[in-house]
Symmetry: C2
Subunit: 386 residues, 2 copies
């Protein structure tokens, strides 16, 4: 189950011919209501793709009838012509759904700097509109059509005992980064919430999930998470309940993104505690998560805490060299600035690795989700654009 | 020629038994005067190795009789015991040179978090003291003894027409990073300068050279550059003349460090111009230099300017998406926010790559020296600690 899990949504994924391979490359998610409330969060990269600029604009009205997504091209760094392409795509979707373009969000992913083959995109919208269904199969097709270097579709669906549910799909395997991964995600719900409540819940959920995924530091030009509410369950949950389930769905998607990220052989949680502030905790966790020497050591299943200490020490945060402790997979190897156990005591042979860094200077904590740096990452990213 | 190029210096490199391999692992550089003025710059990592803490302290007196350096262990994150080891090493060198420990700087490099085998270190000092010579061979032995994953020693020597010269050695192949690479360097001169002039020249030279080398973002716990003046030429050059030659020697060493860095197959200059401030230029250049998606594309000889644009856009600097231009190996691929040429026009098949990023918002400029990210880097760093 996925975006079509909650009541009131139809989806489709089709092969529009944008990808030379002939794979699925265009997805449509439609909210049939009765309400069309929506919220979105977007990349903080200054160089924003045309579909991001468009979708940010239409989201001002906090209402979306549909989202159209394509893989095979990011439509980023494409100038005014690229923006016109996004606009034309939204107009086309509006036409087939008999509504206004202002109710259509657009997402694109793929290579930066190339214009989209618009004939393929526009005829793909026609094909997708005819294929719209409220079935698990159509949700899966949509989740598959947004894949780039992903090896599998990412979907999640969780229901609440009071009769409403949240479903989601996501893509992203490289350029997974601070402040949203290279990543598109559409999340749907049949809970009935006002747009402002959706927005608050989405910001809280992404802050603890998508914003904490950091595979390679590469904040993309296209990152987008959209949340659409149909209200079809006729249930209006409390904001806390809704945020909790939304966070669970988001975390499920984040774990799937991490597990399938380019070349990853390890799922790594970087837990920072004892920080002077949450921002310090995040800064330290990200610095460690992005450190290539740490990441290559983890690829080698090597509990090289010295590299973790090095990364902690160079982070722009309050760090007291004599207060830092580092625990890897349950074994404290470095305590209050001195070695505490032989590194051989920590077993990193499995896929899951947890590094707990206690800064010992405060009470703030965070977790960042990352991976190792493997030959697979280098291979895939040195050959991607061709 | 190297640290023994300038008059007044002797050096030695010996196999003290710190490295299990039996390779050279302890170096001694002695300043026989007539003056012993010195200056140093050190890592900005908060977690500083014991020898860094020691050397910073003794440098307060701006005078050094000798520097002792070991590979085979960084003596970092080793607590009070590690500091005592450094102190004992300095005392031993002072004893054999019949001076005070306060005139002895100590540098260490190798794995973080392990104590040094002090019997080997101390007996190595005796051996090195007996081997001290003012010859190119002894300088080469010293440069060789400080190598870790370096495949070749790094040395430089440049003379001034007025009868003085500057020589230097350096090591560092991984953890090459902002604000000094994982890197040790000792630079000698027979020019006669006051300590404050040496300090000013060293800071100016490192700012434009060692501080601009960024292979993997990993600012080490041990980074040290020391400058020793013997005054043996009896010539006192002007500060500008001296700084110019010191910068040339430093840049020569930096180019050697980059060329030999772990797994590097490309020598990459990231030139940022048109920045609102020098700090902005540095921030953008470093963000691009550290971006794994950019680095893997370069490994694949792929002029993927879209990844460069992505990295520029996520840098914490003043960036106007419509003013950015990117030129790779002489071909402008992205101009004022829109594609300007097909990427196939830029030839990246050679080893040297220059990426010029014009931010178009100011007049500040900088260059950062980096490499690609290759299979070799992953291989070497996933197997290093064992």
């Amino acid at each position: 189950m996925t975006v079509t899990g909650p009541k009131g949504f139809r989806a489709a994924g089709v092969a529009a011919g944008i990808k030379a391979s002939g794979a699925l490359d265009l997805a449509l998610v439609v909210n049939d209501g009765p309400q069309q409330a929506a919220a979105g969060v977007f990349t903080r990269n200054v160089i924003k793709a045309a579909p991001v600029l468009w979708s940010q604009e239409v989201l001002r009205h906090q209402r979306l009838r549909a989202v159209v997504l394509n893989s095979g091209g990011a439509n980023a760094a494409t100038g005014p012509g690229g923006f016109q392409d996004t606009h034309a795509t939204a107009e086309k979707v509006a036409e087939v759904l008999d509504t206004g373009a202002i109710e259509i969000a657009v997402c694109s992913t793929g290579l930066i700097g190339e214009r989209l083959p618009m004939d393929a995109v526009l005829s793909g919208v026609d094909t997708a509109a005819k294929a719209l269904e409220a079935t698990p199969e159509s949700g899966l097709a949509a989740a598959t059509a947004i894949m780039t270097t992903d090896t599998k579709p990412k979907q999640s669906w969780k229901s609440h005992q009071h009769g409403w549910s949240i479903g989601g799909m996501a893509k992203g395997a490289g350029m997974l980064a601070p402040n949203l991964a290279t990543m598109l995600s559409v999340i749907t719900t049949d809970a009935a919430l006002e747009p402002d409540a959706l927005d608050a819940a989405l910001r809280a959920a992404t802050r603890a999930t998508f914003d904490r995924l950091d595979v390679d530091g590469g904040t993309s030009t296209n990152d987008t998470v959209l949340l659409l509410s149909s209200g079809a369950s006729a249930v209006s949950p409390g904001l806390d309940d809704f945020t909790e389930l939304l966070t669970a769905v988001s975390l499920d998607l984040v774990h799937q993104l991490r597990a399938d990220s380019e070349g990853a052989t390890k799922d790594v949680d970087i837990v920072v505690c004892g920080a002077a502030s949450e921002q310090d905790a995040i800064t330290v966790a990200r610095t460690v998560a992005e450190d290539n020497l740490v990441k290559t050591a983890l690829f080698g299943s090597d509990p090289n805490w010295g590299r973790v200490a090095m990364a902690v020490g160079r982070a722009r945060a309050e760090v007291d060299a004599n207060a830092v402790s580092i625990t890897i997979n349950g074994v404290t190897l470095f305590a209050n600035g001195v070695p505490a156990a032989d590194r051989s005591e920590a077993d990193l042979s499995g896929r899951a690795i947890e590094i707990v860094i206690d800064l010992g200077v405060g009470a703030s904590t965070t977790t960042v989700y990352t991976t190792d740096l493997s030959h697979g990452y280098v291979e895939e990213n040195s050959a991607y654009s061709s």
